[in-house]
Every structure is written in C-alpha cells, then in structure tokens.
C-alpha cells in the first residue's frame, strides 16, 4: 500500500508540474487592438463639460447617437447653433431653480444622467406630438429644438414645461408619490383618448390640462409642471375653472406640495416663484 501511495504522489507531482509550466505562455494581454483615442473636443463640448457635466453630473448628447433614440421614428439631430443657447435656458429655469431651493447635491443626485437633444418634432399616430421623454429615470430626451424660438416666452414656457414634467417623473421614481390617494380624486375621468378632449373640459373635471387625463402618474406630473411653468398663469387657469373642477385641482395641488415637502423638504411654492421669475430672465439671455 505504501508503494501505491508513493506512485500516486509521484505522478501527481509530475502532473502538477506539467500543468503549471505548460500554461504559462500568456504573460500580457498587450495593447488594445481597438483604436481608443478619445475624440477631439470642440469649444461647445468643453462648455457643456463646464456647465453641465461637472456641476450636474449630466451628459448632454447633441451629436446623433442611434442608440439614444427610437429607431422606428424619423428623428433628426439638433442644429449645433441651437445647442448652447437652449442649454443656457434649460439651466436658468430648471437646474438653477432647483439648485437654489434644494442645493447642488440634490440636483446632482436626482437629475437625469443624460440629456438627449433632438432637432425634429416627434410625431405620434393619432395627431399627437411627443415633446419629451423620461426613460428609466436616467435620461430626458427633448424634441423639436430646431424650431424653438428662445425669445418667445410662450414657446420657452412650453419647452421647459416638458422638461419639468419629465423631471417630476424622475423624482417620482426616486421617491414615489401616493398614486392611489391621488388617483382616486378623479378616478372616473382618466381616458386613453385624452387628446380628443380640450383643456377647458379638463379644467371642469379637476385636471390642469387635457393630457393630465391620461392617467394618475401623468396627472401628477402635469399638476406639478403647470405650477412650475408659471405660477401666475396657473392661478389664472384655476380661477377660470368651474367651481367643482377648481376644488379638485386645489386638492391635487395640496398633494403635490405635500409630496415635495415630505420627499425632498422643498417648499414647492417657493420653487414655483423662482422658476417663474427665472423664465422672465431666461428669455432675455
């Protein structure tokens, strides 16, 4: 038995030696065969780095990247000369306002990681247009920038309204609102074909816009973003709404205000006042 054990030990030793010595050829993986030289940055790229990437931890995509958009749609790049002026307006109204009220770390933490700028309109079947998209909480895509007049207050309000709306979705993903409590206020009046209805009809039923009627999540984002768009204009809409609708809109407003306080310790009215004031300044930039 001793002899058998000795043979086993001997052969194991020889086998192990064979394994260790015969497989020691690949010492280094060597250099990458892919060309990995970073692309040269333009003055605009450097401006974006200084004003978006570093302060807000946000990448801005203005060069076309097919992976960032829906390939089934006929969309086109933003005009390069529109990029910086548009980003300045976005910064002034959206990011700077949140930063002032909630602090830089809040924006850095909650803002989407990617902002995708698309020049063309994004048309849907059914005669509607998608103005913006929030995807997986990490990306906001903005459309129709090439035809945006940055000196036209109404156009700027509509454009930033889209961003504010999408950002509310992202905040809701980070800190959910009570959807069942909010949704039951006007549960019977949500409908898929909201685009066949008017804003006026929506106000009477307790919605701030016809799009708010699509579902409770969109309703919440619309309620918040209409207030952020222009708090004075919002009050005018509410004043015009029939009494029954007005009461419901006020209840929704209270839930939005409470959500911002509870989830982020933000005084929502203070934020709305600032975004409204910053819009006035942005169109003069």
């Amino acid at each position: 038995m001793k002899t058998i054990n000795r043979y086993i030990a001997l052969f194991s030793l020889v086998g192990a030696l064979g394994l260790t010595t015969s497989c020691s050829k690949e010492d280094s993986l060597g250099e990458s065969r892919l060309k990995v030289t970073p692309e040269e940055k333009s003055a605009l790229d450097n401006w974006i780095d200084d004003n978006y990437t570093y302060p807000y931890n946000m990448a801005v995509f203005y060069r076309w990247d097919p992976a960032k958009v829906d390939m089934d749609r006929y969309l086109t790049p933003v005009a390069v000369e529109k990029v910086q002026p548009t980003l300045k307006v976005i910064d002034k109204i959206w990011l700077e306002s949140y930063e002032t009220i909630a602090g830089n770390q809040f924006v850095k933490r909650t803002a989407p990681r990617e902002l995708v700028m698309v020049g063309s309109m994004n048309m849907n079947t059914g005669a509607t247009v998608t103005l913006g998209l929030a995807e997986q909480g990490v990306r906001i895509s903005l459309f129709q920038i090439n035809s945006l007049d940055l000196k036209d207050k109404e156009q700027v309000e509509e454009f930033v309204h889209t961003i504010q709306h999408e950002y509310v979705h992202i905040l809701n993903q980070a800190e959910p609102f009570d959807e069942s409590e909010y949704g039951k206020l006007t549960a019977a009046d949500y409908r898929g074909d909201w685009h066949l209805t008017t804003d006026k009809e929506a106000w009477a039923l307790g919605f701030i816009s016809n799009y708010a009627r699509s579902n409770a999540t969109e309703d919440f984002a619309e309620q918040a973003s209409w207030m952020l768009r222009d708090i004075v204009g919002y009050e005018e809409i509410v004043a015009k709404a029939p009494a029954s609708g007005r009461a419901l809109i006020r209840q929704k407003e209270a839930l939005v205000v409470a959500y911002y306080k509870r989830a982020f310790d933000i005084d929502f009215y203070e934020l709305c006042n600032l975004t409204t004031a910053n819009t006035e300044e942005a169109i003069k930039l």
Binding site: Y7, L19, R33, L34, T76, V80, M121, N122, T125
Partner: protein, 284 residues
C-alpha cells in the same frame, strides 16, 4: 501490480500534459483578427472618403415606390468634418444649394458605418414633419430618409453602402467640380419635366407603346400608366426621378420587352430620351 500502476500513471500524466498544453492556435483564414480587419476597413473607407478632391455624389431614392431621388454632394474634409450641398427643396432657414459644414463619424457596428452626426441637409430627408405638400399622409415619416449607412465595398470610383434602417442600396460616386456647379440647375430640369405628358417606348421594329406621364415636383415621383389607366410601367405605378442638369435618372429601371432596361435619360431638344439595343424611350 506495480507494472500496471506504472502504466496507468504514465498514461494519466501524458493525457493531463497533452490536454493542458492544447494551444488555441489554429490555421486562420485571414491575416488579421476580426478587430484588425474592421479597423482596416475603417481606415480604407476614411481614406476613400477624404482623399477625393471634390468629394462624392449620391442620389438617394428613399422609397422608389412613391418618392424620387435626392442628390447630395459631400466633401469630407478630415476625420470629423464634412461639407454638403443638396438639390432638396429650401425649407425654413435651410438653403441646401449653399454648402454647409457638419460632422460625421465612421463607427463600428456589424460592419463599418457612416453616420452624419450633426444637423445638415441630409437630415431633411429623415425629418418626420417635412413632407411633400401633396402627400400629407407622409407626416410621421417625411421623405423616409436615413443618415446612417453601412459600408459594403468600394469599386473603381464608387463606394457602396446600405441604409441601416431600410437596407436600401446607395452608391457614392466620385464628384467633380462640375457636379458642384451644376447642382443648382436640377430645379430647372424638374420644371421642364413637370410639363411632360407622354412616355413612348419604341423598339427596333418601330412598334410603340404609349403611356401617360405625370411628374410631381414635390415627391419627385412620375406616374406612368397606359391611357386607359389599367397598366403601368413595371407594375410600379411609375418611377422615382433623380434630377441632373442635362437629364434624369430613374429608379426602378424601366424594363423593356427584350430584357434590357433604361435608367438614364438625356434632355435633348425639349424631350428626355433613353436608348438601348435599338429601343428608344422618350418622355415628351
């Protein structure tokens, strides 16, 4: 017993050593690995694009069942910048006859792709809200153009691509200074073609077939049907038209009875004429 054990041991050692030393070297069919081949293809395409003195000409038929061809001229300046002009219509602030600079990229995907990354005239074809006035049903798809192309080959003075979205074959032909000068005259050809009403096919024996011809300037599609409206050339309702200073090109080709086909017409004495193998096709 000892001998048996010795044999088993030797055999096991040989097997272990042999298996552990198997090399993954094999007889490669190529001189380079796949990554190197792709990088070489990229360099090859880059050099082709950049080294053409007057750039490249492309007439892009985005959907030749209902739309015509739009000619674009590209001058690739370096690895990043391209100047282009086009015979697409003036839209808003865009005057496509005025050369405009933008960026492009050669990127790795299933093959090497040419992607026009920043706004220029090529994107007017792919804008969902720019449609022919006579075809409002095209809202949502526009002129159905793509601006990302997969590289397939280059032969002689041509480079062959396919669009990524619809896999439509497109050809870049080496451009001349004359092409840049002549682009502005394509509109005149369109105006001349608008006035044409008949297409006549004559064969070598003198037999003729007559069709009604109707060209729409906004779609650049010509409807070509028999006078009774029952049949069309190629059973395709008509052909897409690409404009030249001195004629037109069409897609698809008009197939003739003897198996030949025509794709190019010269403008001669107010008519557009194509000849092949004793056949004459005239638009007048």
């Amino acid at each position: 017993m000892k001998r048996i054990l010795m044999h088993i041991g030797v055999l096991a050692t040989v097997i272990v050593s042999a298996v552990s030393c198997q090399s993954d070297n094999f007889d490669s069919k190529f001189d380079e690995n796949p990554t190197e081949r792709l990088e070489n293809r990229r360099t090859e395409l880059r050099n082709e694009l950049v080294y053409s003195t007057y750039g490249w000409k492309m007439t892009y038929f985005t959907d030749d069942t209902q739309l015509g061809g739009f000619t674009h001229l590209f001058k690739f300046i370096d690895d990043r910048r391209v100047v282009m002009a086009s015979d697409f219509f003036a839209v808003g602030d865009y005057n496509p006859l005025q050369p405009k600079e933008s960026e492009y990229k050669l990127q790795l995907s299933n093959t090497i792709g040419l992607l026009f990354t920043t706004d220029n005239y090529i994107h007017l074809l792919g804008n969902n809200s720019i449609v022919p006035p006579s075809r409002e049903d095209l809202y949502g798809v526009g002129y159905k153009g793509d601006f990302e192309y997969s590289y397939y080959s280059s032969e002689g003075h041509s480079i062959y691509f396919k669009t990524v979205r619809d896999h439509i074959g497109i050809k870049f032909e080496r451009a001349t200074q004359q092409d840049w000068n002549d682009l502005q005259f394509n509109q005149i050809t369109s105006d001349v073609l608008k006035g044409k009403k008949k297409l006549i096919i004559s064969n070598a024996s003198g037999e003729t077939q007559e069709y009604n011809f109707s060209f729409k300037w906004d779609t650049r599609f010509a409807r070509i049907v028999t006078p009774d409206g029952q049949y069309s050339v190629n059973r395709n309702a008509g052909v897409g038209v690409g404009l030249r200073k001195d004629g037109i090109i069409i897609s698809p080709a008009i197939d003739l009875a003897d198996g030949t086909a025509v794709t190019e017409f010269r403008l001669e004495g107010g008519s557009f004429k194509a000849e092949i193998n004793g056949n004459t096709v005239t638009i007048l």
